[in-house]
């Protein structure tokens, strides 16, 4: 790995952290109702939305009302999205004549986009019409992200407010997140991406004449569509000549912008941001990668501003960044040290001035190893799930990194809103243990952490773990599993574990060789996504309600300080130990076994 790659990685984090403060301050202002001047022209739109929807913005919700509003909104969104997929064949904007999506795939996809997971069991360019992508998927990209941010803001209010039931108005939080934050950022990003070559068109798929026509073999079919066999029982093959290349295009940039900014990750095309039309140049890659962590990182600062102690926000951001850098280093190191067997085959894998080197299977030359590993790390730190390289073909431990990052609960930056509220749940647990060690009933930001808070925090930590472990266990016991995995064990097991880690933690990335588009996996993964999202969200809203009702305790020298490097270190330890210990046995049967086998054999 040359200085160039180091510089690219360093530049990434520098820009990310530099942007965190201004954007964070902006978001804090939006949520506190102090709409900054340069977006105030949108205020009439905001008021119009409330009028049309009959929302009274000044009426605040208690936690139950807030949770119910959130759930209702998602139920309606789910039904709408499901209907859209099933009926797309009858609806306009379907130039490629996509058929209706199967019921199980529609269920899975609807759950997936409503829960901000954006797991895709299907290939975008071969399944979804433009209308479905826009009205269904893009819309959920916005609102599922906005819903996550709303819940975070409600939780922050829980810390800020004293002895009240009100934790804010869900509709207001949702509208403001979308209108003032996600939409403007998406417009800027989308146009920047188009300038780099990301497609944005309603034209049908384009065709190009191949410079060198090619051909392929396909089995000959009889009248009923069954393959014909020859005398020996071998299928009869037809040679098909190909002289044209059909280029799948569509309104991609607008969707990609929000898929990155809203930590959604659901690509327009099957291979997501590895596709040249979805991520055309190294610079578009930088922008998209930056967009993954931009809002989650900035929300830390928003948190600091809103609780009136920015040190608290920086501390969380520091914890996240340290963990992210550690995992990134591991991933990069692994990917630069590919299968030693390759050298024996006469393949050059060392990187040099004229080649990126490393493990390039499933990676694009324009990104190279460093930018691919960076993306793999950030997309799983955040619950984004978009990919610019195929994680399935990573080195065993290189692929373990994204898997573990998801299993930690998507709290290292994490999803927009969901990452930080997930991290705050870990903070609650850390403060509880740390608070005991300084001899006081634990408190965070002046709020006592007692039995009820521990209960909610425990449920929020438990639910994704249960979804991942139980989902994987059931999946490997089904008959379907052997057809779904495309690699021999132990990697085949890793594929299943990765799928459920991704679904249970609402990431959406995959070891993409895993055949998930079948009724069994669609159902199981859908349930895992629902558990992982709502069994975290609802306890978090309840936590917000309980905290808001509490008195505020003034800080003294006896209070556990939660902004110090020591606390950051302890938080990291708790996240790693509580988050990861659960999965070590499973990982041992997957990537760890694969790693020791690969390197022990040599």
């Amino acid at each position: 790995m040359s200085a160039w790659e180091w510089a690219q990685l360093a530049l990434y984090f520098v820009v990310l952290l530099l942007l965190a403060k201004p954007l964070g301050a902006f978001m804090a202002a939006v949520y506190e109702g102090r709409i900054p001047g340069f977006v105030r022209f949108l205020a009439p739109v905001e008021r119009g939305i409330y009028r049309v929807c009959g929302v009274r913005p000044e009426v605040e919700h208690n936690w139950k009302q807030y949770a119910i509003a959130m759930l209702m909104f998602h139920v309606v969104g789910f039904v709408f999205l499901y209907g859209l997929q099933r009926l797309q064949v009858y609806l306009p904007l379907n130039p490629a004549n996509m058929a209706a999506v199967t019921p199980d795939c529609s269920f899975n996809t609807s759950v997936s986009f409503v829960t901000n997971t954006n797991w895709q069991g299907y290939g975008g360019e071969t399944t979804m019409s433009y209308l479905t992508q826009m009205l269904g998927l893009t819309v959920q990209n916005f609102v599922s992200a906005a819903a996550g941010m709303a819940v975070l803001v409600a939780l922050i209010r829980g810390f800020v407010r004293r002895q009240t039931n009100a934790i804010g108005n869900y509709w207001v939080d949702l509208t403001r997140s979308t209108l003032y934050i996600l939409l403007p950022l998406s417009i800027v990003l989308a146009l920047a991406l188009v300038s780099q070559g990301v497609v944005q068109t309603f034209r049908p798929y384009q065709t190009a004449t191949l410079l060198q026509p090619t051909s392929y073999q396909q089995p000959k079919l009889d009248a009923e569509g069954n393959p014909l066999k020859d005398g020996q029982g071998e299928p009869v093959m037809d040679t098909v000549a190909v002289s044209e290349q059909a280029l799948a295009v569509g309104p991609a940039a607008s969707q990609i912008a929000i898929k990155q900014l809203g930590t959604n990750g659901g690509g327009f095309f099957n291979v997501n941001s590895a596709h040249p039309f979805e991520n055309s140049t190294p610079f578009s890659n930088f922008l998209e990668c930056l967009a993954i962590l931009l809002i989650p990182a900035a929300l830390c600062y928003t948190f600091g501003v809103m609780v009136k102690d920015t040190r608290q926000g920086w501390a969380l951001l520091a914890a996240m960044t340290v963990m992210c850098l550690g995992f990134l280093a591991l991933c990069v190191h692994q990917e630069y040290h590919p299968d030693p067997q390759l050298a024996a085959l006469g393949v050059m894998t060392t990187d040099g001035a004229d080649m990126p080197g490393g493990n390039l299977e499933g990676k694009e030359v324009r990104f190279g190893v460093a930018n691919s590993a960076l993306w793999a790390t950030t997309t799983t730190c955040a619950s984004n799930g978009s990919v610019n390289s195929m994680h399935d073909s990573y080195m065993p431990v290189g692929g373990l990194v994204p898997m573990v990052l998801m299993q930690l609960g998507e709290v290292i930056y994490g999803g927009v809103g969901s990452g930080l509220y997930g991290m705050i749940v870990f903070v609650v647990i850390t403060v509880f243990i740390g608070g005991l060690m300084v001899g006081r009933t634990p408190e965070y930001l002046g709020k006592k952490i007692e039995a009820h808070e521990m209960k909610m925090a425990s449920i929020a930590v438990l639910a994704p773990c249960l979804a991942v472990l139980a989902g994987t266990a059931i999946a490997v016991m089904t008959a379907q599993v052997s057809a779904s995995i495309c690699n021999p064990l132990p990697h085949g097991f890793s594929q299943v574990l990765y799928a459920f880690s991704s679904a249970g933690n609402n990431n959406g990335s995959a070891f993409a060789g895993f055949g998930a588009n079948n009724p069994t996996m669609n159902l199981l993964l859908g349930l895992a996504m629902l558990t992982g999202r709502f069994w975290v969200k609802i306890p978090v809203i309840a936590l917000a309600g309980a905290l808001a009702a509490k008195k505020h305790i003034p800080v003294s020298d006896g209070t556990l300080p939660t902004h110090t490097p020591l606390f950051v270190a302890m938080l990291i330890a708790v996240v790693l130990i509580v988050g990861a210990l659960t999965f070590i046995p499973g990982l041992a049967l997957g990537p760890i076994a694969e790693h020791v086998q690969l390197f022990a054999a040599k």
């Binding site: 690219q8 188009v194 410079l211 309104p251 291979v271 590895a274 610079f283 393949v347 324009r366 073909s393």
Partner: protein, 198 residues
Amino acid sequence: MLIVMTVLTGLIYPLVITGIAQVVFPSQANGSLIDREGKPLAGGGAAAGSALIGQPFDAPQYFWGRPSATAPFPYHAGASTGSNWAVTNPSQTDAIKARVAKLRESGIPAGQPIPVDLVTASGSGLDPHISVAAARIQIARVASARGMSEQNVRRLVEQHIEARQFGIWGEPRVNVLRLNLALDAVRAESRLAAVGAP
């Protein structure tokens, strides 16, 4: 609320972006199509391809791109995919062995190591690029197949090296389609020159 949001983010937003994109970046927004001279395709006419999407090449007179895992044929731009094979998958090892063998057959001497990007499938299956080293190692074959001097081919390769973007991002690389189009253009030129010379 959902209806309002749908209209706002599902209709107005993509339409606005499409509108602006089609006006400001018409070429990029429609797939960066190029003609046979490698210039952006203006108006109608048959596209020679997209500057961003690779094409399958296995003839000796063309530079070869990276292996592609798309089905049913490589570089099928309507169904992008990677191989998704694990590094420990025997199929992967076999595939690499076959690719190495094919490259050796094409004239790369046994002692010379082959750049890894030439034997591993890209993530999208549509990767338009190969590394500079991967292009250089094919110069001898292409030159001999085309009856051009290695020097001329080399010059063409060096001209087609795309540097790091803005001097920092990405990896130096060669766009295979553009290079091959340029090769064909050289041949067309020389033919023209041959015809017009007397």
